[in-house]
């Protein structure tokens, strides 16, 4: 985990944290400590301090995780919790009974049922999965044997979801088999290493079909070396399928998936220019003097970094530039023939001589993204230290000395862990480019009204269809700002909510003359427990890319009309404040709701009688969806 800085004085920092009386401040201090590279012993100590804190402070997402394995998993707990803390997740872990993951999931009164998991992680053993397949088995026979294992796992996934309404993570099989023939093993249908490889391939397909999250420990071990993850002595002594030292990357791997699921993955990659995106200083060396492209090993290393950034952009990561440079000289470097990144790939470009921490704030504001979704990449240790100090929420990878390894370091750090690829992700760069044009219009338009009118906005809306589910789930779980209740939902829960006839679930797309922003908002109403003619707004999310366009007004107009046509009398809505959703603080009042009794600091209750609702004028036209 070389991208993390080693802790300068772990013992001292931990002891200082433990002296902090206020549990919220203590948790914040422990979370800062979790950003460092820690040994197993340090991880255990940090976890012990974490366990002693009972309160649930704002800004931390609580996750109830069940760890169900065919082997010993207790030693994995501290590293998962500390890696969770690294992402502001407080992970409460239930360890299943040894080797009894099937019973835990299936039995009516298992301890797991009373725990009530948000997430179940299944970590079975290849030994069970391939037992009984003989070396001489035909290809068909061995595939059939594996199908049996996969069917059983599918059954467990479904049972876990149905019984606990949880998200399921399936772990891949670590291949610790021994060679029988050697190279030829992969050509023998019944050879253990071939069976494990086939099993993992088919497991990934099954997980994809069932929207189960896939924890690919086999790939991690291939990256780190199997001996980093598996230790025969620990297996023999304590049936540890993952070694004690291996628990550190394992915990990081699990926390990345949890982080992605709960909207804690990073969203924006901010890049320095000189000696980060190319070699040399463009202001001194000139555009033709920078080191970039074929012909030199170093030049190719910078190309590799640029191509990786472009690959991230293609899956929805926003790119920005933060450079100490003359702006016109910095821009001119993008005319270099070997530049893989184009100026249009960069959603926010800041080049000046000001403090980089200040510039990062400017970029965050311009992109309407939280600083805690930023990764800042800079070759200069002074700039890195400055940003870490001023903006501790920004992730700053500790780059290696040689630019050859920059790209690997950024990739290994796994900041951008994702669990879906949606249409909106793939067009995000275009979307930000369109935003630049919108900003230009905003600057020339006299008033906000002129600006909004000039956008020629149109919304298409309707119920959530199966094809919308990945994007809707992603939006619910990734949105931190316009999110009225901050309730996260698994894909399964979203699907169930969308198909329940008593619910009202609406999705909205927004387009204008500069481009299509895609599916950007979801409203999820359920009937109130005490009155079937009243709908409660369980959650309402909207992408930050379309804030300030009056979509919330038109969406509420549409929701009220649709609900009235079904005979609904009133809406109820909760606003549950979090560290990040203050943007919806005044929302319900603005839309004509009245605050009702029983609210507290943990949440406000609002209500709206539909008969009294007066539709508000927005500048968004409506268009029926083509297939409705």
């Amino acid at each position: 985990m070389d991208w993390l800085l080693p802790a300068p004085d772990f013992r001292g920092a931990l002891s200082d944290a433990l002296k902090t009386a206020d549990p919220n401040l203590r948790l914040a201090a422990l979370a800062r400590l979790a950003q460092f590279r820690l040994s197993y012993l340090e991880t255990i100590q940090l976890d012990r301090a974490l366990s002693a804190i009972a309160t649930q402070p704002r800004g931390f997402q609580q996750v109830r995780l069940a760890l169900l394995g065919a082997a010993t998993v207790d030693h994995l707990v501290p590293a998962i919790r500390v890696a969770g803390l690294r992402r502001s997740l407080t992970v409460n872990i239930h360890v299943g009974r040894f080797g009894q993951y099937r019973q835990d999931v299936l039995e009516a009164t298992s301890p797991l049922a009373s725990f009530g998991p948000d997430v179940v992680l299944l970590a079975p053993s290849y030994r069970e999965a391939i037992a009984g397949v003989s070396l001489g088995a035909s290809r068909r026979e061995s595939e059939e044997a594996l199908a049996g294992t996969l069917d059983e796992l599918r059954g467990l996934w479904r049972a876990a979801r149905t019984r606990f309404g949880c998200t399921v993570i399936q772990q891949s099989y670590l291949d610790v088999t021994l060679p029988l023939f050697g190279n030829h093993d992969r050509l023998i249908a019944g050879a253990p290493s071939r069976l494990v490889a086939r099993l993992n391939d088919r497991l990934a397909d099954a997980a994809s079909d069932e929207s189960v999250l896939y924890l690919d420990v086999a790939r991690w071990a291939a990256r780190d070396g199997l001996d980093q993850w598996f230790d025969t002595a620990r297996w023999l002594h304590a049936k540890m399928q993952i070694s004690i030292e291996g628990s550190l990357p394992y915990g990081e791997a699990v926390a990345r998936l949890l982080g992605a699921h709960y909207g804690r993955s990073k969203k924006c990659l901010v890049l320095d220019l000189d000696n980060t995106l190319w070699g040399g200083v463009v202001g001194d060396d000139g555009v033709e003097g920078i080191v970039l492209g074929e012909g030199s090993a170093a030049g190719e290393a910078y190309v590799a970094l640029q191509e990786y950034a472009k690959g991230l952009a293609a899956r929805g990561i926003v790119l920005a530039v933060c450079s100490k440079n003359d702006p016109s000289i910095a821009e001119s470097a993008f005319g270099h023939p070997e530049m893989r990144l184009k100026r249009s790939d960069i959603a926010a470009f800041v080049a000046n001589w000001a403090d980089k921490a200040e510039n990062l704030r400017v970029i965050a504001e311009r992109l309407n993204l939280g600083l805690d979704s930023f990764v800042f990449v800079d070759d200069n240790p002074v700039e890195r230290a400055r940003v870490r100090e001023a903006l501790p929420m920004v992730a700053v990878p500790e780059l290696p000395a040689d630019p050859a390894h920059y790209v690997r370091c950024i990739a290994d750090a796994g900041y951008f862990e994702g669990t879906a690829l949606t249409e909106e992700d793939q067009s995000r760069t275009d979307e930000y480019a369109a935003n630049v044009e919108r900003d230009a219009l905003r600057n020339t338009a006299g008033t906000v009204a002129d600006f909004l009118g000039g956008l020629d906005m149109v919304t298409t809306f309707g119920p959530v269809r199966p094809v919308d589910l990945p994007r809707v789930t992603q939006l619910i779980n990734k949105t931190n700002q316009f999110n009225t209740t901050a309730r996260r939902m698994s894909a399964e829960e979203v699907a169930a909510a969308a198909t329940a006839p008593e619910n009202l679930v609406l999705q909205f797309r927004l387009a204008d003359r500069f481009g299509d922003s895609g599916l950007v908002s979801v409203m999820l109403f359920e009937p109130a427990d005490d009155d079937r003619d009243v709908l409660s707004l369980r959650n309402w999310v909207m992408s930050c890319r379309v804030f300030g366009r009056e979509l919330e007004i038109e969406a509420m107009n549409i929701a009220v009309e649709t609900a009235k046509s079904r005979g609904v009398r009133a809406f109820r809505a909760d606003y549950v404040p979090t560290a990040k959703n203050s943007v919806v603080g005044g929302l319900f009042a603005t839309l004509g709701f009245t605050e009702t009794a029983g609210g507290s600091a943990d949440g406000e209750h609002w209500a709206l009688r539909l008969a009294e609702y007066e539709p508000k004028q927005s500048r968004i036209r409506r268009e029926a969806r083509a297939d409705d």
Binding site: S39, Y40, L41, E42, I44, Q45, R48, D74, H75, A233, R234, L236, H237, A238, M240, S243, I244, E245
Partner: protein, 80 residues
């Protein structure tokens, strides 16, 4: 490395592992005398000692150690 050096390193590791600053290991200490030093914590302890000293115990020896002195003596032979 003297026996006393090794003992003090062992003490440090076990204190951190169990979160108990009152632990003082002596050659004759046995696991059952130390609250919380169960078989799971023992394997953790062995792994941490191995990492700290850069050695690997034989698995049969790990099962045969009767007191802390046995571990110290075995570690010394591996350190040579």
């Amino acid at each position: 490395m003297t026996d006393a050096d090794i003992l003090s390193r062992f003490t440090r590791i076990l204190r951190d592992l169990l979160g108990d600053e009152s632990i003082v290991l002596r050659r004759e200490t046995v696991r059952s005398e130390v609250p919380g030093w169960d078989s799971f914590a023992y394997i953790n302890f062995i792994a941490m000692v191995e990492a700290e000293l850069g050695i690997k115990f034989r698995i049969a020896d790990v099962e045969a150690f009767e007191n802390v002195g046995d571990i110290v003596a075995n570690a010394k032979t591996l350190l040579k």
